[in-house]
Amino acid sequence: MPANYYELGNNQFNAAFADITSGLFRWRLWIALAFEDIRLRFKRTYIGILWTTVSFAFFVAVKVLIFSPFTTVDSAYFTNYVAIGFFAWMFISSLISDGCNVFTNSERWMKGGRLPLTLFVNVSMTRSVILAFFNFIVVAGLMAIYHITPTVTALWSLVVFLLFIVNGFSLHFILGILCARFRDVSHLIQAIMRVMLFLTPIFWLPEQMGDLWKYLSFNPFAHFLISFRDPLLSGTVPWNSFAVVLSFTVVLSLLAFALLAFARRRIIFWL
């Protein structure tokens, strides 16, 4: 049994910390809830979760077909470039769009009993990671087909993927809280993300853009993407982008914690 003693109306930073630890501690519950969500999403389909793999492969194929005439690099490189980049983009954008709805969609649970907010974030994160795993099948398959063997440096991509998860965790709190309080935010984020797909180097290479890249490089998503893709694809570590990712990780974590401390007990009234 979990500790079943609680005090309402005490220090909010302690309470936020307790929320995170107790949320992480209840891994059995969030894993069960995440699998339940996935089970329901693919209910009564024949190939089930493989639909994510299929739709991802289909999308990559079409994009490669359309965009390869515009590029100067060889098609093997470009195919993997698009696949890895789009994989990272899909993961990031699912973290952001799920983050917006994480609390508004959990109203039924939050009003049914006392559960840490972190639990719902964990459910949503787990779901995204599971789906990402099924998308990665395509990436791994393409790399095998084109004989691109990852070097030891590719482990950096794994580190960056873990940073994605840390940032996704923070973003869930930040966006989930803001979207619960100000309902316009989720629409705004949707509009922004749709544009960001094209402003991020997924279908184009930064070198192609010339002077324009100076401005496009202000897009933080670009650096997240580059620092995941480069170690895996070309075995180099883009230190500048990596620094951007690290600083974002620090800033978002602090912001998320402060926001959680402020909104933890208020959010139930905003749903």
């Binding site: 049994m1 979990p2 079943n4 003693y5 609680y6 005090e7 309402l8 109306g9 005490n10 209840r26 059995r28 519950l29 069960a32 809830l33 339940e36 329901l40 209910k43 039924r108 649970w109 939050m110 009003k111 049914g112 009993g113 006392r114 559960l115 309080r181 309902r183 933890r264 007990r265 208020r266 139930i268 009234f269 905003w270």
Partner: protein
Amino acid sequence: MASIVLEHITLSYPILGGDKPKVVGPSRLGGAGSVIKDGANRTRSVVALEDISFELKDGDRLGLIGRNGSGKSTLLRIIAGIYEPLEGRARIEGAVAGLFSVGLGVHPETTGFRNIMLSGLMAGYSRAQVTDMMPEIAAFCDLGEYLDMPVRTYSNGMAMRLKFACATAFDADIILMDEWLGAGDPSFQDKAQKRLRKMVDEAGILMLASHNHSVIRKSCNKLAWLDRGRLRAFGDVEEVLAYHDEATRPPAPPAKTKRQIGKERDRAARIEADRERRRQEKRIELKREKRRREKRRQIADAKKVATDVAHDADSTT
């Protein structure tokens, strides 16, 4: 070992967007329903509970009474830890099981079995432990093969049975019920009552919000009366009920004045006169109608005689 300690709990619901209640004229007396305004005189929140303090220990079965909107549900949700008061403190010791709306804490798309599993995990049990308890829980809610179907397909009563079984299967020290004891068919009610009694006897606290005083008398040994977000009375069931009944009895109609009596008599007389006049008119009308009918018959007879004569004349020629 369960205990509940509330100290000066005050809770107000913020009003976000949309229509904010406008208070016309002087605000009400305060307490629940009174609105809090910001510096710009805009309505920001509605008070639900104000300055609530009490303590409960093992074996206490507290009933909550009060009109709709008096804060009963809000108070239960504070003790469940769902709402946290922005003012005051609450200390709750013991595992809490809350029976609020049927739909809360249930996955409608998922089967009954899986919902039981999820409830068990939420109560802090492991998968293996819940699996061990499953047959007993399934027997208690007595839903048979329906447990393999999504909860969305259940009737309201069936969903309630599942919810009740889930909430009470996993050892809880504090049980909170919002208007629940009347749920289900009589045989299930009986079972539910017995289980609740057993749980409370095993050292625990029950809090029950209800408008049904006989249910309160049967299940509770303490009673709190909430009136517009304030604790109006707290204590022995019969004493609080007596006080409540005394205080809420509608006032007797005031004694009539002489003038009123006179007015009423005049009115009765007028009505009687009116009726008499109508009866008179009806009698006259009936008489006229009778005379008219008589006349018509005489004319018809005369015509008949005339045609008979004509007919006789034809047949002879």
